[in-house]
Every structure is written in C-alpha cells, then in structure tokens.
Assembly symmetry: C2
C-alpha cells in the first residue's frame, strides 16, 4: 500500500508493514545494494549481508534502547516455538516457573512451557473473563522466571506498567507491542517477539536476553535450541531468515526516521484514544468492556450492540477500504489492530465509517 | 537478476532464485492478487492466503509427485533444527537410529540428533576424506530410521541411487537436491529440505513425511515440535513463514512450466556434465577428486593446481560477473553451485572464463 491511502489494513498479524518499507523492498528486490541480485540470493555469511545484519542490530539497540548486558537474536519458529524453547533454556529439569494469565496467548505460553517446566499461576484475570489485569501477582522467589504477555492481541488487554518480579527474571512475549512504546529493557530477563505485527514479515522471531541467563544449564537438548549457542554465533548458528532480517532492518530505520519510540508511543496513544473515544461516545452502538487502565493500544476489540449487524458491518467496511476488521473467533465481534504501520488517517477513516454506519443503523 | 544475463550467482545458499519468480514477486509486492496489500500483510488464515497455500501444496504434490500416503508440511527452523526435531519425533527415549556419513552435513545431522537418540553409524566414507560414497551400508533392522544426505553441498558428493534400508524408514536431508531430479517419494519415510537452495528464500523448511510415522509417540516435548500436530493443522499450528511459502509456490509453478522434474533432471545433468568435462579436460589446471559415480550435480567443488592463484581467480571471476565461487572454508578451493535456477548459459559463462584463465595462467 502507498502512504496514507486506502485500503487500511487492520489485520492482527501478519499485519500491515510501513508503506515506505514495502516500497524500498520492492524497488531493490532484484538488485540489492548494487550486488545485481536479490538480498534473498546472497550468503548470510557474506560481507554484504553481515554488514546489513549488524546494522539492523545496532539500529534496534539504539531504538529501544538495548543495553550491552543483553544479547539480541534473530531466530525462527514463531513465538509459539519460544513458549517451549525459553522454558528449555531458562529452567533445569524439575524447576518451576511463574506465569501471569491475561488472555489467550499467556494461557498458551503456559501450556506449551508446561511440557518442559513446572508451571505455577502467579496471577490471573480468567475469573473476570480476561476483561482486565489480575488484581494481584504473587511471585514465587524460587521461580526460574516470571512470564507475562504485555499485550493480549485477542482480548485487547495491555499492561500499561510492568509487573514487579523482584529478583526473579521477568520474561515477556512482546509479539504485539514491541517497538510501540519505550521499554526499559534492563528490567527484563528476556523479551521475545514474533515479527509479524510490529517488526516485519512472519517467520522471524526477535529474542532479547540478559547475557547472565545464557549461563543457565537448561535442559538436555540439541545445540540448535540453545540461545547461548545462537548468541555466540551472532544468530548465524544456521542459516537465518535473511529476508525477514532485512525487512526488520528497514523497519528499524523507518522507526528511527519517525522519531523513535517516544514519538511512536505518543502516536499510538493518540490513535487508540481516538478510537476508544469514538466507541465510548457511540451511546452503546459499539462497546468495549475492557478495564480502562488495561485497554490495548495495539488491538481494539469492540462489539456492535446488535450482533446480527456484524456481517453487514464487515461487508460495508470492506467496501469502504477498511480491511480485516473481523474479531478473533474465540471472542467474536470486531477487532481493529492499529500497530505502528497504521497511520492516524487510517484510524480516522475507521472512526468516520463507524459513525456513519451507526447513524444509518442506530 | 533478469533471465539469461549476468551476474551469474553460484552461491551455495541462500542461492539464486529463478529470474521469473523474482520478477513476479517484485511486480506484486505491494498489491497481491488484487488485495491492495502485500502477501506479507494478510492473515495466513484468510481465504486468499489459504487458497495460495493449498495451491502450492498441490503443485508440489504434482511435481515430485508426492503420494497421498505422505503429508507435506511447510515449517521453520532450517534443516539444522530438524536434525534434532526428526529424532524427537521418530524415536522414543532410548531408541536407536542409523546414520550414513558422507560429509559435513550428514555428520552434523548425526551430531545434533545424538542429543535425542542413540546414533549408530551405518556407513561412512570419512576414512577416504569423503571423496565418495561408503563402500557398504549396514542397516540395523531395529533402528528407528536410516538417515542419509543425498547431496553434500560442501564436499560435492551425491547419491545417484538411494540406499536400501529394507523395512527401516529412510530419512533424507534433501536441502540441496530436492526438485533437481525425479524422486520416488514412496520409498522414503521422511524427506526434509531447507528452502534456500532449490525452493525459495531461507527461513522455510519443507517436510514430506509418511503419515504412518506421525503415529510414533516420539519424546516428551511441546506440541509445536510435533510433526503430527503440524499435519493436523495444515502447517498452521502457528503463523507460518508466509513469504517463504508464497515464493515456494511461485517456484513450484515455474518448475511445472519448465516441464517438471524429468526436464529439470536432464538439464541439471547436462549442466554438471559440461562443467566436470571442462575440469577434467584442463590437463590438471583444475581438478575435482570425487569418485565419478558420486559427483554432485548441484555443487561442483574444484581446485586450481596452484592455490596461490585462488585470490586472482576469484577477483577476475567477480569482474566477469561470476559471483560467489569461493569454496567452503572447511575444504577450500572453489565451488560452483548450479541449482535449478542456474541456466546453462551461466555454466557456459563459467566454463569460458575458466578456459581463458587457464590459458593466461597455465
């Protein structure tokens, strides 16, 4: 898509990429940096790709920022693989880990980890249908780590402040909110994120891990599963997803040009505020029942007062150039995912459409 | 690169993609199938992507062909991850597996699997410096499977006929020769291949597995590592590498247009024969010391009689538009990787350059 023009893509992921990033990728697809070939056709160990890879890491380190204490890895397998793999790396056989449950994804993270570590629930809002954050989080000081999901893409619940895990390493699945606001990385033992929402195409996973944790013995497993081995080899223990790494690098540069994460955080807050305000001002035509202090700035789920209007809403939205608004089947209704690549113009177009639809069908 | 023009890219992987595939990917990068967005920006569970994914599988099934007895999976992690993962899936704790060693990659496959299964060497040509195939392969009838590497990209050694494993399932890492010639898939328990040589970009792994093997209990592990779970979910247990899957689909269609694998097999044989003939006719200026009946048709390693000429050879080759000819550091010398996407014109250009270089420096 070109800048500031429809269709506006509200897909939860794989999601919209910045228009400028796509344009550059298209332009240099068959001749990357004067090599005469595509970035997909060069060795990951060649000088050209190595320079690009290093640049991408440095740009990411500048953006977040990532302190020297933490290694940055560009891996594969999706966040789901790392639900299991992080337990294999951070916990020895028989050890325990604490999980905070705030929706579909944190539940899944706990379930997959449960094959490799003894999972304990440190806090949960399941009894309230995941309409907010847990009232209390009680961390076991003996836990190998405390895992939480800063943003739940399906339920639309987001931590606006980080839980306090004391001396227990904090591990966060930031797949859907990484790079959407500033993060104090030093507070985290490990941050990981599937790329397909705020970083790049699917098939790439970013892992940011405190080097101290790389010394943990973990569980018996092949080297390819060990974060320590990947860190020693600068994520080139085997052939990485070179296209994903390249597009992530272009996205990091785009974010720097946008003014970095302070600017993105403000922009994302403004986008979400505008959309929630429109929902709340619709006199019940639309509603979102998540606690105000836990509403997601990335994924805005909402329902129509009359669900029988859902198909018509989706049809007309598509006709108006507003794509992929159908909510996840687990919760129904609608969902507008408004990651970094969605400009305010797209959100305004959605708000205008919603107002018009409500007037015609209210 | 555009069809039949330099630079000729002899990279061992990530390797050259068919020029027509790249041109199409470039053309539709920002508007895929009339969606108005990139193929990277749509949900893998949406109707558009699902249709493409199914089409890619059907095209692959038609190409090889793949019988109904075998499932086709589009996964992540590189072949290296599957060195371990296949052992986790195909062998229960304490069980044994047989490995045939013919070079760097089969050794690595055995080493990584060794974390999860008791590895026994069923045959090896290591005592001859991997200059050919093992004289004998003795399969343990109790082995969970027999693993071999049909083509060794570093040593340039290829099986021209498959080993006989009797009732023991045959497992092959076809990363560097899949789709380069016809294969009787029914003879294999499992075939797997990293995409970045003959299929598409890196970050995608193709797994073709006899559905019978999906019933094996395997080892305790998270669902995300189980081939059976991936098969049940049509490789959408989690978000797949959608870009890789898409490019693989374009490549399968390109192969069908080329006349399928019979035609590719003949073309690849002709390319390799021409290059080996030029090496053998160089009166020792160039040489390749692999047994004639085991020479690889995909990766042609060769040495100059005087290694002090290597840097000049590489410099002049690059100047002549012949890219990435440096041999792997483990064996030195030169290597020309001539996968499906390398046309005969590229091989002829290399042969002409080699002849000229030899005349000037012989």
């Amino acid at each position: 898509m070109s800048p500031s023009t429809p269709p506006w893509n509200f897909s939860a992921g794989p999601a919209a990429l910045p228009a400028e990033v796509l344009a550059q990728a298209q332009q240099e697809l068959t001749d990357w940096r004067g090599t005469g070939v595509s970035v997909m056709e060069v060795s990951h160990r060649g000088a050209d790709f190595m320079a690009m890879a290093e640049e991408a890491e440095q740009d990411l380190r500048a953006l977040l920022p990532v302190p020297a204490s933490h290694a940055v890895l560009f891996l594969q397998g999706g966040a789901t693989q790392h639900f299991a793999q992080l337990a294999m790396n951070l916990a020895a056989p028989g050890e325990r880990a604490d999980y905070v449950l705030t929706g579909h994804w944190s539940q899944k993270a706990a379930r997959e980890a449960g094959h490799h570590v003894r999972v304990r629930v440190a806090g949960s809002s399941e009894d309230r249908g995941f309409r907010g954050l847990p009232e209390r989080i009680e961390v076991d000081p003996q836990a190998s780590y405390l895992h939480f999901t800063p943003n739940e893409t399906i339920h639309g619940v987001e931590f606006h402040a980080w839980p306090d895990a004391g001396a227990v390493p904090l591990v966060a699945d930031m797949s859907s909110d990484i790079l959407s606001r500033p993060v104090d990385v030093a507070r985290f033992g490990m941050i990981y994120a599937g790329a397909q929402k705020n970083i790049g195409p699917s098939g790439l996973v970013l892992v940011i891990i405190d080097r101290e944790l790389l010394h943990r013995a973990g569980q018996p497993m092949a080297d390819i599963f060990r974060y320590a081995r990947h860190a020693e080899q600068q994520s080139m223990l085997n052939t990485p997803n070179t296209w994903g790494w390249y597009l992530a690098g272009l996205t990091f540069k785009w974010l720097l040009r946008q003014g970095g994460l302070d600017a993105m955080g403000e922009r994302n807050r403004a986008k979400a505020n505008a959309l929630y305000a429109a929902i709340d001002a619709s006199a019940g035509f639309y509603h979102n029942d998540i606690d105000t202090d836990a509403r997601s700035r990335m994924n805005v789920p909402f329902r129509l007062h009359d669900p029988s209007l859902d198909p018509l809403f989706l049809d007309e939205a598509t006709g108006a150039g507003l794509m992929a608004l159908k909510g996840h089947r687990a919760v129904g209704g609608m969902r507008a995912s408004i990651y970094n690549a969605m400009p305010m113009e797209g959100v305004q177009a959605l708000i205008a459409f919603m107002g018009d639809f409500a007037r015609r069908h209210g």
